[in-house]
Symmetry: C2
Subunit: 222 residues, 2 copies
């Protein structure tokens, strides 16, 4: 059997939220990975790379795994009924409904986080209760068939976990070895707990405007 | 000052070799990241995502950092004089000449590894001496202004190291926090040493054909 993975792509997506787990899934045997959006025109990510959807909402197959990446562009999706309805309709038939980074807020806006444990980027954790979810500070959080990952690079850890769940641990370990995933970060600054207060302030400062807009939008929904 | 990063893109590139360090560089302040190839038509990566170059060999600026990702498509570059000449010409003016995964073999074919310490994917280490390089089993290897990374995901570690070198450690730590890079692989299978012999055999089996072709090509050059 071939497992069908579908990643939502959208303007101002955070590309590594997508490309990390995409590479994991697409490196497995018996997988087909799709990029899906409203239409098939290229969409530009936050940092510049463009992605071309290969299916649109109308011709999309039912995915076994639906994944919503995050990024600044999430803000525009929170009130986009066409997107939320597509997600709800896929969620009915998918084996796993998943997200990376702030993609979980879109799942929340679609009503899929109610009563669930969930993760998101460290700078968005406080939004989760607005959607009825319990925030969990882990890289990969599984609650039934909902799997949500933490910020950006946690998508790789999520990808391998899900692969093991779907295809067995052996397949996940083969892919991990192929991608030489034995990370060795040169610094210890990957979480608000590890980073110095000064680094934390500066990192928050850079995304303050997007966060401010997000506060307003989430407030409107809740 | 704005630092200019140039990634070579090509048919059958391994996308995460590119997208990992791209996201690191592009998330920094004062950076401009370009995708460069012979022409500006989209190129398809091994696992499916297409990338559209924004500059070609003729209109490319001089990069501060030139980076060659790896992938199955590396084989076709090893004897491609147009590509090798572009790399040599950029290398003359670049502050850093870099690679991820099997991209170092292309640097080798361009004659840029002679007498240097270098890294590559674990399954390509034995090719390095053919280009006059000393293989080093580390995620990031620096020898003068040459920086070569190990397989695929080591590109993220490489990106952060280089960012610190260019812009200072503070900038690298801010980016690391933004990308929530505190990896937690669910399994211990990321290197041939960590993986079980059975997983190693299977991972090798999947890339055996590409490796066989590569042996022939490297033999012709050496």
């Amino acid at each position: 059997m071939t497992y069908r993975f579908g990643f939502l792509v959208f303007p101002n997506i955070q590309q590594l939220d997508l490309t990390g787990p995409y590479e994991v899934f697409a490196s497995a045997q018996d997988s087909a990975v799709h990029l899906v959006w409203k239409d098939k025109n290229p969409v530009r990510s936050v940092t510049g790379i463009s992605f071309t959807p290969d299916v649109d909402f109308d011709d999309s197959p039912q995915f076994d795994v639906l994944c919503i990446p995050g990024g600044g562009g999430v803000n525009a999706l929170l009130g986009d009924e066409e997107v939320l309805e597509f997600i709800r309709s896929q969620a009915k038939g998918a084996r796993f409904i998943t997200s990376v980074c702030t993609g979980s807020l879109v799942l929340g806006a679609a009503g899929l986080l109610k009563g669930k444990r969930a993760a998101t980027h460290w700078n968005a954790m406080d939004f989760l209760p607005h959607f009825g979810a319990t925030p969990v500070h882990e890289r990969v959080v599984k609650d039934g068939n909902l799997i949500t990952a933490g910020g950006v690079t946690s998508g790789i850890d999520f990808g391998l976990s899900l692969l093991a769940e779907l295809m067995g641990r052996e397949e996940a370990e083969i892919v991990q070895l192929s991608l030489e995933y034995a990370p060795a970060p040169p610094f210890h600054s990957g979480t608000p707990q590890e980073a110095s207060p000064d680094i934390l302030d500066k990192a928050k400062g850079r995304i303050a405007r997007s966060r401010q807009e997000r506060e307003r939008l989430v407030g409107q929904i809740a």
